[in-house]
């Protein structure tokens, strides 16, 4: 008979992010057929009683398990990939998955430097025989199309020179558009967010707060895409720390869970330290500790190693 804490350990090994390989080896590997049978009988969520008198793996759970086993492999492959190929593939996948993943396209277009985004567009040509903007335009319609095509096509100026008077008047433009509802349909909003340099946008946000009393992303609660855009452009570490927090919750959907790998792999070389700091400030616990508690096995060790680099 399987011991209750062995069962608990085993169930834990199968839940969360990744697989606890050691537990599976040390417990499951040693069980006789009767122990494994009682495990199957005692877990109706994993095994279905078949009419022909045997306990059958539930297909859905086998798929879930497959994903968990693949988490480490996916992280490794993504990590070793050239950043351009990585971003191109992430964008393509997000486009194929549909509206719930379009935030990833915004993430890539807005948090990468101008040269990194350009690189991703180059890689897109090589990998998919198309331009990124043509693919995005083809799959998305309406106002979102205008926003996303412009975001992925941007080649923003990266110097510090900016005109404060223009920033002030553009802050007012944004404020008026947001107050009048449906800002995503406003061409001026799109123009400002998709063409201005990041330092210029920082100046706009400062003036916006003076006009509105609120931070611009707070006023954009009703418009998810614009909110993501604004966050990614000017407070990326906060944005990433929020995405990580959601990914590390219990019982989240597949796409939200995948964000853990994506964010850590894509930011480990860039601003991981600032993301960790923000996470700690927001949640009172270090990101490493949270990953330690939530993820398992090789996948967990790999992530912890990535985020420990560079302090």
């Amino acid at each position: 008979m399987a011991l209750p804490d062995e069962l608990e350990a085993l169930n834990k090994a199968f839940s969360g992010h990744g697989i606890h390989e050691q537990t599976l080896i040390s417990i499951l590997g040693k069980w006789h057929p009767e122990q494994r049978k009682s495990f199957r009988k005692g877990n109706p969520n994993l095994f279905i009683e078949d009419e022909r008198n045997f306990e059958r793996w539930d297909d859905h759970h086998v798929r879930l398990l497959k994903h968990e086993f693949m988490r480490f492999k996916n992280a490794v492959v993504l990590w070793t990939m050239h950043p351009w190929e990585r971003d191109a593939r992430l964008a393509k996948e997000a486009l194929k998955k549909g509206p719930q993943s379009y935030g990833i396209i915004i993430e890539i277009a807005c948090t990468r430097s101008a040269e990194e985004l350009l690189g991703a567009r180059r890689a897109y040509h090589s990998l998919f025989d198309q331009s990124m903007e043509e693919d995005v335009a083809q799959h998305i319609n309406g106002c979102e199309r205008k926003l996303l095509v412009a975001l992925v096509s941007a080649y923003r100026y990266e110097g510090s020179k900016l005109r404060d008077d223009a920033a002030k008047s553009e802050a007012k433009t944004l404020f008026d558009a947001i107050t009048n509802d449906k800002p995503i349909e406003d061409d001026e909003v799109i123009r400002i967010l998709t063409t201005r340099s990041k330092p210029h946008l920082q100046a706009i946000y400062k003036h916006y707060k003076e006009i509105s009393g609120m931070n611009i992303e707070e006023d954009l609660d009703a418009d998810l895409r614009l909110k993501e855009t604004v966050q990614c452009l000017c407070t990326p570490q906060q944005y990433f720390s929020q995405v990580l927090d959601m990914a590390l919750q219990k019982d989240v959907d597949k796409s939200t869970k995948k964000a853990l790998t994506r964010v850590i792999v894509t930011r480990a070389d860039t601003d991981m330290k600032e993301i960790k700091d923000d996470y700690h400030n927001q949640h009172g616990v270090s990101l490493s500790k949270k990953i330690e508690d939530t993820a398992h096995g090789n996948y967990k060790d790999f992530l912890l190693t990535l985020i420990a680099r560079g302090g």
């Binding site: 350009l118 025989d129 331009s131 990124m132 043509e134 335009a137 083809q138 095509v149 080649y155 063409t195």
Partner: protein
């Protein structure tokens, strides 16, 4: 094909610089010498000359040209001497600052340059104007023009030959539908023209003609006074048949009462090293007059000589 002619033995770069310096010295300028050097050097050579001139004499060659030369002659020599990406950045910046709905320069730059060259223009724009090209275009253009021009200048088109025929058919249908509905600023027309590769657009336009009987530009000519339709037609032509587009601009510039030197200079300076030969031949075919003869008739002095040199005329 380029119409630029290089001498059989090219002097060394320091020699060229020395000669140019001599041309500027003293009262007046030896314009003929300037033409005989700069008018017969390619982009790489001109870049070296500019670098070496600055190192040797502590002055940017362009500044010297600005000081010594005047009017149309100065304009053509300065534009010509600039590195192609810088040149396009300058032309684009001028176009945004003095933008009118009949201005086609932005369309020319966005649609006739290769994806790679357009990128270089955007980089040169950052360096020179401390802003991005698209932010200036977005700020200075309005309405439907803005809707079309911003995606055009931001495009980074796929440059392969692969064509999806099914897509070409369906997009030809979309174009025809929207044009028939007179929805000329429809987001799908803009999407197709601003994002598809040139090869794909070519296939789409061929299918358009096969299926619906007319060239798309014929269908886009329903109102000859509509300036947005004119820009759409220019976009199509620049993407598909740039030599024909430039030939027409040249012909209009020359035939215009008084000659449009701005356009004449721009086309010759920007195309001399690219496809001027085709443009020149097309001009002859279309006007029954060789281009050099038309230029001799319509312009004079050093300006005329520089233009002739750039289009490969005799021993100008």
């Amino acid at each position: 094909m380029s119409t630029l002619t290089l001498p059989e033995t090219i002097p060394s770069v320091p020699e060229d610089c020395e000669q140019l310096r001599k041309a500027f010295e003293g009262w007046g300028t030896n314009e003929g010498l300037v033409i005989s050097i700069l008018g017969h050097r390619n982009a790489a050579q001109r870049k070296l000359i500019r670098q070496t001139y600055a190192e040797t004499y502590g002055e940017d060659l362009l500044k010297a040209l600005n000081k010594e030369l005047t009017n149309d002659f100065e304009r053509v020599v300065v534009l010509w001497t600039l590195d192609p990406a810088e040149r396009d950045a300058l032309l684009a910046n001028e176009a945004t600052k003095r933008w009118t709905s009949s201005n086609q320069v932005l369309v020319e730059i966005a649609c006739t340059r290769s994806s790679h060259d357009l990128l270089l223009v955007r980089q040169a724009y950052h360096a020179r104007y401390k802003k991005s090209l698209e932010e200036d275009v977005a700020y200075h253009t309005t309405g439907d023009f803005c809707k079309l021009l911003v995606p055009l200048v931001s495009s980074y088109r796929y440059e392969g030959d692969e064509v999806n025929m099914t897509l070409a058919k369906s997009e030809a249908k979309i174009l025809h539908e929207k044009i028939s509905e007179k929805a000329y600023n429809h987001e799908d027309i803009i999407r197709i023209l601003a994002t598809r590769s040139k090869a794909q657009i070519n296939a789409t336009l061929n299918h358009y003609k096969n299926e619906f009987g007319n060239d798309i530009n014929k269908d886009l000519k329903t109102d000859p006074k509509d300036e947005f339709l004119a820009i759409l037609r220019a976009t199509v032509k620049c993407l598909n048949r740039p030599e024909k587009y430039f030939e027409k601009i040249l012909r209009l510039a020359i035939n215009k009462r008084g000659t449009d030197e701005g356009a004449l200079t721009r086309v010759i300076a920007t195309r001399a090293e690219v496809d001027m030969k085709f443009i020149r031949d097309e001009y002859h075919r279309r006007s029954s007059v060789p281009l050099d003869r038309a230029i001799v008739k319509d312009t004079n002095g050093d300006y005329e000589n520089m233009l002739l040199a750039l289009i490969g005329h005799g021993d100008a």
